[in-house]
Symmetry: C2
Subunit: 112 residues, 2 copies
């Protein structure tokens, strides 16, 4: 069996992490479930962890990534903004491209 190359990418803003794979997973789950707590449950992470992540995302981003509402019908919820959706899509695309790129590069090591 041969070597594999793996990668992790993330976006920073003013030395704060804006987006990484975990954050993108969370944002997708929010989009699917309509709430932060449901998203946390679906990802098997604590609400606190999810909240901390989302808070950090929104504090680092130039424009709001989600809109969170407290109280009201159903207790409230969270949803992605247009900007949030664009970020998620762009991140995914870059990540996929990066994997493809690295797989190409790998043959520099394969036959040493």
């Amino acid at each position: 069996m041969s070597y594999k190359i793996k990668s992790r990418i993330w976006i920073e803003s003013e030395n704060n992490v804006l987006l990484g794979e975990g954050r993108v997973h969370l944002l997708k789950a929010i989009q699917e479930t309509g709430s932060l707590s449901k998203a946390a449950r679906s990802l098997n992470i604590s609400y606190k962890k999810a909240w901390t992540l989302l808070d950090s995302v929104n504090k680092s981003a130039k424009k709001p990534v989600t809109i969170n509402s407290i109280g009201g019908k159903g207790g409230g919820g969270a949803e992605l903004t247009e900007y949030g959706q664009s970020l998620v899509n762009a991140f995914d695309e870059i990540n996929r491209n990066c994997w493809a790129f690295l797989d190409e590069q790998l043959d520099k090591i394969a036959n040493l």
Copy 2:
């Protein structure tokens, strides 16, 4: 100030990590100093940590990456094999290429 994209790449072999940035730093330091303990001191990490890393590298690699000698003149030492040097060089090149590639990709996010 605008977003930055960062990355971390590593090479795996049979689900074990072979090379990452930290390991490559260590290998370079071994090459420069001729010993594992000197390399550890130069990187400000404990000997134990350095030894554990190097041990893992050599156990994951298909061919030996360093040759370590115990006792004798100077107490012993460690040096990179040809193969080890090739791995280090290839990793560095792939890493640099990856950075350049990702910087290109970043403008997908810059103007959202």
